[in-house]
Symmetry: D2
Subunit: 319 residues, 4 copies
């Protein structure tokens, strides 16, 4: 099942002007298409749109999507859906003439596409970059009470490979990072009430650009938007920052991880109680980071109901 | 009273090998002189030693010192001490043939010197820089229950100039940043139980080097040493990190402030309740940063007793 | 003679729209005042305008100016002008109610002012910074056939202090860096046909921002604007980039030098043949950097005539 | 033919102590194994050695090597060698129990391996990083008079994919960048006298680290080692620096390119006369960069003879 990489996310937002100010004026994402109900955004390296914002009465995640290697892969995915009795349909979408939508067994609305209108990138148009110069979509991270089962399903049926994971002494998996494109992850699953999206991440060229975004948000007095960081993750080794958009959707600015292309790469195991797992430098983390997330759309409309996890616990370093 | 700049600090430490590992191996300060009881350190731009560590049964601050413009200034300082009945004496010190020590009216042991052995700097010997490449001594910050009076005394008698300050609605000063050399500060005073040293600060070339120090400390698993940051101060605009040495002495790594050389420079006022004062980006701060400091040596030996401040209060963002 | 620092420069430009694109859209300087004939610019830390562009039939430098410590210093400068029979006059200027203009003995039009309208700075309005975020005016560098005499005059009569200099085996001074505010220089003099301005320099927070400006200029396909660098100077230790505006005026982007506040600071001597003097890293330099400069306005109007230097020579590393 | 990525290079050097000083003390590569004749080096992310230095009477390249996906791929490569009558043999090598060596049709000695002893990486042992903290092997670039044919062969028989290329009006290919692991290149071919190695490249985390290496080399007065840069390539968009080791082997320090994982990625075409192709910022380049390279070992011993290219020409910006 040749899935190439994370490709897109679509968010419902309640105030498109406020979201535009946040994503375009402050984060510096670039507008590819817009009308009075939707906004299509991308980083300077993205040749396709990677984030769609759509006005709605209630905020949530419409879907998270992956680019696949050919239209034939879409047919294979339909076969999988039929075999596993997963709901699916073809959806119309800007720049994506053939987009398949499916509900995974864990309640997440996931989309797949191969064909996309490709636009001239902005990477070398440095005079047009704004703010921290966000470069490209990197990964998504979800909250689920079924980390172990969900990780296994994405590996078994969608061909994801495991990069890192955390588990307790009973070998119960608390979180997992899985990938398709040779980076640390296209998708991470974290234990928690779900199905919810924890965050969508964009890659930046270096850590100084991440600090610059903090300065920009502070300059605009958007202090509440800076939720956690900057810091260095133990897992993934990434330099990170988490910000919250006006609806509470969480965006990670991310850089400096490592390659996982080697076939003899051995997944890195972390004990769930290792404090350096999330924050290599130590330090206090806000409770919201562990408890809040974005609800996801149910296949038939509305949002998925939430289930709590049986794995309970909060790190000692939470404020 | 021509005081040039902050010039030195001398700390008592209880385990010189542990301190050497922290300051030399991890922070990357450079050794100018050492024996089995003392260590003289400097940044790569410093042409004189700027930090002395000395083994002692109890940790504390022996003195904080300023370089003055000539030996004649030392005589003027003696006159001041006599007029104000401040205890003073000449002390012998490595590389400082004529060093005056005085107790200021607020209990701080301060030293002054003009002459110093000047050593070849390391600034352009980049192949010898280690760790984050700490550049030069920048300032010291003390805790005192008498911020207003102490600020006035340093301005009136030692010629310091005010850069920034925080006050409450009753115009009581909670903190002040004062300077001699055209930077934001050589000395800052913060409201609190005192007299104690809050921190000694070194200048680094940029914020990426500050993040690098976090990585280095984490690599050596010195998580507890990283107390606060990295972040951007509202006051001073500096990019900062606070670390704690094995005895708890606090060191700030500091960069990116601004010039104050203009005679029509107007001191910047902050309301003490403004959360962006200390951390432009917002965020949670650890309680220790507000409550802990290093005791300072009394003129006759032992350490100064502590007095609490009448100004009580803790910011809302403290964990 | 209490001169505080370099304060301003005024350039004649031939196409104000082209200059505005270069300085505002690409370099990211900030507009304080503008009309259809003039543009007043500043960095994000500058509280006063620091660069004036004025439309004229021929490009050149109207004047270079210094901020002094009080209006009384202006009177002392008038006395100096009278004693030395230097032409002077009071000029009207935006934001500067009392500006003295003088012709120095070497043909340079220099201005002095104390009072200036002070504007709210942009330093902490990071959301308004554009491009590389140029921070503040740093220094000016002139070409003169009389480096030795000019250096002596500025030190003897205007109180400048020597930071670094280059000389040959016969102790003839080829270049000198002199300062008033405790940095490496407010003014540098380089041997060459003069009087001409070699460059005006602005301070940036770090070297990454200097590389960013190269990217921005390249994005706009302004390749010819990038004349030299980025690189590290031996002299001053600064990380630098030289760019040329549409009229050929040269701007240096500059960061990472050192402090010179110590009264026992010993000026650093470089042999004129030391290749690391200009470029610590070695490398090839373009000929234009050594031969081109901006003519300066004569006191009575028109531009000063040029005299060649008796000291002839070009470094081996010039292309 | 599942080739994973560039994996290794082996250089003959004439003075191992001089090479060790260059690669270990200055570049900061990390020693995995060493004896008095050989040195095995790696970056902090590399889990295997990536550069072998071996003492020899004459400097040159022993081989350049690729990691493949399994031992079975080695067998497929033997089949290819037999079909195409390419010389091959199994070689013994440290940490590589099964290494296949082959001479490609263009005279390059290439090695392939799957199994390798994996060592604990140093990525998160930041306290042990030295110098600029070189991260991982990135690519190799060769000089050949047969760019077009060689590119076709690596794409047809080894499964490489084209990222970027330069050609003239007659559609003759002057250079090509090809990849296996989703980066811009594992291998580049540049028109010139060959077969020779132009350079081996290592990835660094950001451009500031590349400038730091210039400072380190200058601090050690290794000015001649800095051949070209730092700068930004048009092709690959990488921020780069080229240095020369004591034998003249060229190493590129490289960062900030982009991903090529999309199956609908369209190779980027550059006209060979576009000056921004090599250096996005413009500027002068040294002649040596275009004319010098490392000879490569012939299959039977000694070094391959050199053939000139029929495509003649030198960019206008060469000094």
């Amino acid at each position: 099942m040749n899935i190439v990489r994370i490709g897109q996310a679509a968010f419902y937002v309640t105030d498109l002007a406020a979201s535009r100010h946040f994503y375009v004026d402050l984060l510096g994402l670039n507008v590819l298409h817009e009308d009075n109900r939707t906004l299509y955004l991308r980083g300077v390296e993205d040749r396709e749109w990677t984030l769609k914002l759509e006005i709605a009465p209630k905020a949530g995640v419409r879907h998270i999507g992956y680019k696949v290697a050919s239209d034939q892969v879409l047919d294979e995915l339909v076969t999988l859906a039929l075999e596993q009795k997963l709901p699916y349909r073809w959806e119309e979408e800007q720049d994506r003439p053939k987009m398949l939508r499916m509900q995974d067994p864990f309640g997440f609305p996931i989309t797949f596409y191969y064909q996309s209108v490709r636009h001239k990138w902005l990477l070398q148009s440095y005079h047009l970059h704004r703010g921290p110069g966000i470069q490209r979509i990197d990964h998504n991270n979800v909250l689920t009470p079924e980390v172990g089962a969900m990780t296994k399903w994405y590996m078994d049926y969608l061909g994801f490979r495991l990069s890192e994971y955390s588990e307790d002494d009973a070998h119960r998996m608390w979180a997992a990072w899985i990938q398709r494109r040779g980076s640390v992850h296209d998708l991470a699953m974290t234990n928690g009430t779900g199905p919810r999206l924890h965050h969508l991440a964009y890659w930046l060229p270096d850590g100084a650009r991440i600090a610059q975004l903090c300065d920009i948000l502070a300059g605009d007095r958007q202090f509440a938007a800076i939720e956690r960081g900057p810091g260095r993750h133990g897992i993934s080794n990434a330099y990170y920052l988490y910000v919250r958009d006006p609806d509470g959707h969480r965006i990670e600015l991310y850089t400096s991880d490592y390659l996982t292309v080697d076939p003899d790469f051995e997944p890195i195991r972390w004990h769930v109680d290792d404090p350096t797992r999330q924050q290599l430098w130590g330090g206090i983390a806000p409770r919201s980071w562990f408890t809040e997330g974005s609800v996801v759309e149910a296949f038939g409309g509305g949002f998925e109901g939430q289930r709590e996890s049986e794995l309970k616990g909060m790190p000692a370093y939470v404020a």
